[in-house]
Amino acid sequence: MANRSEMWRTLSDPLIRQNPVTLQILGICSALAVTTTLATAVTMSISLTVVLTLSAGLVSTIRRHIPDTIRLIVQIVIVASLVIVIDQVLQAYFAEISRALSVYVGLITTNCLVLGRTEAYARHNAPLPAMVDAFGNGLGYSLILILLGGLRELFGKGELFGREVLPLADAGGWFTPLSLMLLAPSAFFLLGLLVWVVRSFYPEQAEAPEHTPPLGAEPAE
């Protein structure tokens, strides 16, 4: 029973409390690049979660046979092979989305999140906990990506999954799209606001202030 609750914690912790994107700021590059529409965000999330879970399982299975000195090479080879498989599947069945994602599926290989989990967790734990942990981290990443993708597509185009949600002003509705939402800076803003929200619910995540303002140097402000 204790084992099961521990497993549940491994799975649920990375969702919000230990979220890889908002707490550890990992995997930012793809989180910013592929979130212009919800469809690409969802595809990217699924691809990353699959790659992460499978690679964690593989690395964990052979963890006692990987020499320490070449462990990164071995991990990257495993991750890269899985990424190639995923990329081929996407190209075969979802050609349009695959084109929209361009290089970012391939770049899952170098995603800090994948290497971070295999290096930090899968290398030291049995396959099942390693896969659960990787799956939880994948879900945490997906949560942020889908949230960002949804917000950006909704306010940038008035659509969700390419279907109209907010009637556009051009077509007789009331909503004027915020074209800024489709540009990269807005992903930074939204992610920053998201980190702010998470850290105001979990104040222990906030970083210690680097400077302390002088006390009483100025007369009453």
Binding site: T176, L178, S179, L180, L183, P185, F189, G192, W196, P213, E218, P219, A220, E221
Partner: protein, 260 residues
Amino acid sequence: MIRGLWNRETVALMLLAAYLPLALFWLWLGGSEALGRLGLSVLVVAIWHLVFMLVRAQPPSLAALTTALAVAMLAPEDLGVLRMVLGITFGVVMGELVFGGWGRNVVNPATVTLSFLGFGFPAFAWPAFDDPTAWAAIPAALIGVATGTMPAPVLAGAVLVGAAAAAGGILPEPVLFAAGIALVLLVADPVTCAATTLGRWINGALYAALVALFATGWAGAAPVQIAVAAALLTSLAAPLLDEAALALWIANRRRRHGRT
């Protein structure tokens, strides 16, 4: 400066006094529509200052009025209430209040607001200014320098380079007017301009040079758009300019006195 009399709010009041000629001429020529824009900006900025006072115990500042004036004067026209509120909210919260209020911000909140509105709603026309409003920037700058609240080197550097560019014929008159108003309202801000004297000279010169560059190379940009973009880039470069000025000073001292 006399200790005890000069605090943050005195500086804000003096800045307001400096902006009075500009604001009065603009209101006089703009009429009730201008008054409405100013009222809306003041209201939104004041509400956010109030929220941060209540939630984070950050003292509100009279500088809110200067921000509101700059936004009301330079924001694109006919945006409608909702977009104005969105833009001002973003600029004031992300540009100033999250850093701890006026005096701790890195970029001018009005510059952030205007850039946000410009990038977010590119379809709306930027305002144009009548001659008297633009000329009123000169007394504003003079009052600011006389009271010591506007950095004189920034203004001098900008005027120097701007005059050279205008003499060379690469600054058309509308751009010159818009750049002058933006110089007073956005660039010559005591908080977000460079802090060292050398850095301030370069800061002003950089602003004028960017305006000249955009005026010649940016096809189809409105004068105010050019000025706001130059102001944003300049304020982002200000810490770098300070760093360079300090490094130069340290290098000079090492050359004169051996090891520091």
